[in-house]
Amino acid sequence: MGIDNSHDTVGCSPYNRESWDKVTGNTQYIDDLRFKGMLHAALLLSPHAHARIKSIDVSDALALDGVHAVIHCFTTPNILYNSAIRFYSDIDPSEMPCTERVFDQEVKFVGDRVAAVAAESEETARTAVKLIHVEYELLPSVYSLDEAVADAAVQATPFGISKTNLCGGWVAYGNQDEASVLQTIKQSPLQSVSTFRTSRVHHGYLEPVAHVAHYTPSKKLTLWTSSQSVFSFRDVLAQLVGLPQNAVRIIKTVSGGAFGGKLEVMHEPVVALLSMQTMRPVKIRLNRKEVFSSTRTRHEAIITLSSGYASNGRLIAQHVYSLLNTGAYAGSGPNTVGAQSGKTFVQYDAEAMYYRGACFYTNTPIAGAMRGYGCPQLMVAREVHMDGIARKLGIDPVQFRLQNLLLPDAKNCMGKPTHQALGRVCLEEGAKQFCWEERRKQAIAKSSGTTRYGIGVGTAVHGSGWYSVYQDMTSVTMMMNNDGSLQILTGIHDLGTGAKTVLAQIAAQTLHIPLDTIEVIEVDTAVSPLDLGAQASRSTYVGGNCVLECAQQIKEQLLEEASLMVGIDEQQFALGDGDVIEMVSGKRISFASIIDSAQKGLHGKQRQIAAVHSYASHTSVYSYSAVFAEVAIDVESGAIKVMEILCVHNSGTIINPAQCEGQVHGGVQMGLGYALSEEMEIDLETGRIKNPSFKGYHMFRSHQMPKISVTFIQGAEPSGPYGAKGIGECATDGVAGAVVNAVAHALGGVSIDHIPVHATYVKELLTQNYRVQ
């Protein structure tokens, strides 16, 4: 019928639309923005883990040439807030306790804000910071999670519930009450209990945290920040500086990496207040040490799993008991527990399941959102636990999992539909591609001399959007330009993963127009429609659905006008290559002429071809993965080398395979570090971070990376845009489990109880193993 499908872009891999500016050094990240009269800010960070500020003398700092302002707890608003809110009304004390102030008289960790200086240069500001004299009254402190949860523990902050360190409250639920689930475990033919510890890690984004604020005499505040959620930042900022939300404009700058680390308000209020005081643009850019100490981290966790099962390997009941370290402030702590709890029920099937978890305050850096949001902790603990059971039963780990993973189009123990739960397919396909059985055997056979080989597997699951744990929605505005090209205004935040490219692909596919006639304009509270931020792997699923439906509305408007123009029923038209085509005659009417007709009101109501659309997600769908790993261990040094990783993912239809694969690769790098090398080491005497630099904090480098293969199991998810589900977090969730299980396999089936698995730990495990033998 002459319909042109040359603009089918879903499933193709057009280049990331920002590539050329980035690769030529033209992209302006926040640190590259230059403003006339811009001042530079620096922070005085607490050297103490817990102290009350008795007095602050800023006279020497202010006397320094080039210093314009110094602010601290005695000069700034005393308003409590939570830096992690999503909706304006997120103030439920059990979910979003307000525990933070811009400057607090009580500092609660080494790296907490004490004061800030604005000066003519960064160097002057940093020099002035050293001239601020603070008198502290030291308070008792608690650093480790074990100590924080113990009875009669030192209180890290005044916000712990009933004089403990409990933050928010317990999240506790299951398909039966807790006592019954525990009872079922007890009555099962076999039981296993294991406790696993995961470390505090950092996002390690390459772009340091930076913000610029500019307050002008017209009483308007503009703030540029590499944020993941500008609308909630606006809500927090407006409240803190006492302006209505229309007078506060937050502009997201191109993200130099975020991974959840830029989802929560950080030092934005500081530059805002400094700018209001000086009436000059004020910028802050943290140095790397400050990024480690004074931003956000992943929650350290201690997770105990108890399972009851039959000797044939069928899981009967499971209980998860999870303790998270939220650091000095609540932030997203209770939410992370909530998100983690949900994953308990959507991976494996059992008669009875129960989750109990909570987070606790300590006098350590603030934990917050990080890729996976509570899930990587649970996945690694659980996958190691499951391997332990398989080992005990003498069942192959893949077979054991196949017996217990959820089935698609079924119901989980909570009675919720499992939709396209293709975790089992991922596992089967991966086992085939990895030659699992053979290599499992070979690994032992080829271990010789000082080298031991091991093969391991780990599965994972992750949602696409907040629903059903929380409400989820986003909005999109589309406007046709006069030449038939399209502007899309979206609140979806592209963090470098190519969200804008994917949204453009979805719009191009729906409207049959070339990709390069679509402009996606990113987030600015003054321009963009509302969005809840780049989190929960929601950009493609929630944002994509919104773009798809909005584009359909544009399509309807175009067809309606075309129908008025030629007097033919709308049903008789199709779209193709930027034209509306009469299906019978093949006659084409260009978008441009339809738009012109609409704007002049030549045939119907005079109007612009444009649409605003809100999409609320009411389906909770999950993405699945199975990760396979091979490691080689040198038993003399304890050094572990990861030889190969295979990731098999089910994320529905893959809109842009190359970009999606790239995200999985990045997720592997992060997961490998989580399993083997990354850890923010806290000195248990002082509360200081011992390794606040890329020299001391070991992220995997190019020469340490294994060979990585990625396969997608592409079952279209009916509720997803062109069948797509999320990928961002699932990309990292399952990696650590696979690697740790491979290490355990190489070492003859030892029980590993924490990550990262450093060389020293390997040597300990070796002695354990030899003792067993």
Partner: protein, 193 residues
């Protein structure tokens, strides 16, 4: 025990090293001095009066507004600030400006103007090697440093050449493919295809 002492000394060193910073190379060296530094920057001869032991990174970004070279750590550990000095890739945050006197400096902005080296940029785009892009300028420079010396590197050589450049987004996979692609493309150009 001894190991513990050494480790804590090491950690103490790590802790104080923020005194290496963006503006000047050695914060401890507070002396003011005047020096004229002459060098060729992206093909243009420059003469700069420096008052302090400025870092090359500071000079590039704040004096010449060449912001394509990034500040990622300021401690020589991430490679986001890489530039070519006399065709060798180095971290600009760790080079005091007087060290480039008489030398040739090429930044990412200069790569775009070089017909041979800009092939690397094309390859990075085509290989989907760019996500957030913050590491990208440094990666391209490291790739250039490698390919200027070894035109057909092995994968191992590529991985080694990129090991001082951190990337948190890509797992390096597409970046390594981009360097291979660039090497092939450069060879094709040379062979006159």
């Amino acid at each position: 025990m001894l190991l513990g002492v050494v480790l804590s000394l090491y950690h103490f060193f790590l802790y104080i090293q923020d005194d290496f910073d963006y503006t000047v190379c050695c914060k401890g060296m507070y002396m003011e001095y005047r020096e004229t530094v002459s060098f060729v920057l992206n093909g243009i001869e420059r003469k700069l009066e420096t008052k302090r032991a400025w870092t090359l990174l500071y000079v590039l970004r704040e004096v010449y507004q060449l912001t394509g070279t990034k500040y990622g750590c300021g401690t020589g550990d991430c490679g986001a600030c890489r530039v070519l000095i006399d065709n060798v890739a180095v971290n600009a945050c760790s080079v005091p400006i007087h060290k480039v006197d008489g030398k040739t400096v090429l930044t990412i902005e200069g790569v775009a103007g070089d017909p041979q080296l800009s092939i690397i940029q094309q390859a990075f785009v085509e290989a989907h090697a760019i996500q957030c892009g913050f590491c990208t300028p440094g990666m391209v420079i490291s790739a250039a440093g490698l390919l200027l010396h070894i035109s057909e590197p092995t994968e191992k050589e590529i991985r080694e050449a990129l090991k001082d450049n951190l990337c948190r987004c890509t797992g390096y996979v597409h970046i390594i493919e981009a360097v291979k692609l660039a090497s092939n493309k450069m060879k094709e150009v040379e062979d006159g295809h």
